[in-house]
Amino acid sequence: MKSPLPAMISLRGVTLVYPNGVRALDNVNLEIEKGDFVFLVGDSGTGKSSLLRLLYREARSTAGEIVVDGIRVDRLRRKRVPALRRHLGVVFQDFKLLVDKTVWENVAFAMQVTGAHTRDVMRQVPRVLDLVGLSHKSRMYPGELSGGEQQRAAIARALVNNPKILLCDEPTGNLDPANTTEITALLQRINLKGTTVVVATHNQAVVDRMRRRVVRLSDGRITADEERGYYYLGLGQTQVLSG
């Protein structure tokens, strides 16, 4: 059921063709409202990461309209891009940690670029590190962390600014089941506080346990959009928007 509220994230007829000719997204229409929790599922290489990349303007759409929190992202001037990104929390699929900064510094950096007060940084950073269970590794460099620890550092960084929108690309790919459950619970808590959360994932267990909205991508098109879906196309109320 469509809400009359203005959507937090809205894609209309969005197509993304990479310079090498790969059509990663093809006429995608998607509305995500404030406070939604959305799983983005689909086979490897179907465009999940590409869709997220469009939202924080790492990629620019070839055609279509993209609105994020009222900002026309596809038309945003280069100079305004940093401001957009500061309003988003992003967990990158490949972490993207700064190798020459400690975990603490990596997380603090995302706050410092917003011009935050140092005393706020000193208070907030330990808090999020504790949330992801990484307090004991805060003085280590990414190269000294295990894969799962790096992933949690990336999650902490995405959370540190209390973003309105949280975009997570495969946030549990390197985590053990216990950690996965914890992180998922964390995302849910954050969502309950009003943050819009979009999670691209292959983790069937997480999707099936949570029973939240599932948007299914296949070869760059949205093939299903279920309100309370499963990882595999299941019982939820299906509303194919385009394809």
């Binding site: 940093p82 990104r85 995302a110 011009g115 935050a116």
Partner: protein, 301 residues
Amino acid sequence: MKNGATIILDWGKLKFFLGEVLRNFSRNTGMQVTAIGTVAITIVLLGLFLFVRGALADVGSRLLDQIEVSAYLRTDVTPAQVTAIAHFLAEDPRIASARFVPKKQALAELRERTKGTIDTALLTENPLPDKFRIKTHVPDDVPAVAASIRRLSGVDNVVYGQKIVQRLLQLGAVLRRIGIAVIVVFFAVAGIIISNTIRLTVFARRREIAIMQLVGATGTYIRLPFICEGLLDGVIGALLAVALLAAARIALWPRLLEALPWVQLAGMPVDARLLVAQLVAVGAAIGVVASWISVGRHLRT
């Protein structure tokens, strides 16, 4: 949520920023050392060049400061003509001094010069003419002055070390031009090398820069540490160069004075403090400009 537009500077931020600069600076020590070394060597060469150029000009004029023009007068010259010539010589601004040498004195000088090889007892009368001895302010004027004197009435012949003076003057002109070309090339080289060094530093950190941008850092925010790094490189390099030049002055000065005793190098008017300030400013400018350009190139992509 923080408001990105309002940047409030607090002590923690400054500490963070300085830490950032020092961290970048100290992380790739080898790289910094070579960058600083490059700046230092460039500025040392610049300083040396400026010195050699100044010294050469000085040496050139001192080499030739004994060069004088002898204007031999006709044997039938009238006192009025001599007065007129003296007047003319006194008025020419290019002429430093003009001295009348009567023939008696000329003979004495000739005798002195040939140390008794001319048997003056054999002379029934002085065979030498009267003459004027003329010195110019700068050697370059010698040929023109000689030519203008030759045209005066009462002057029989004008003599100076024509050949050697001419050659030295030509050589000086050529060396001056080569010198200017070298200094231009030097500045180009210094600029290219330092910008190259910093561009490579940026290139080596391209992944980090991309990540910073993805996390919401502005261009200026990313640029600033690099600019400061360039500034540090430039200033430290310049200071090193100044130290090297000072050491060279202390160590080599006496040997140079010994080698060229007739050059009063000590008298060269150099304001040491001004020179140091200028060299450091050159270093700082090179560092800042080079890093600004280099970082900008990578931020655009």
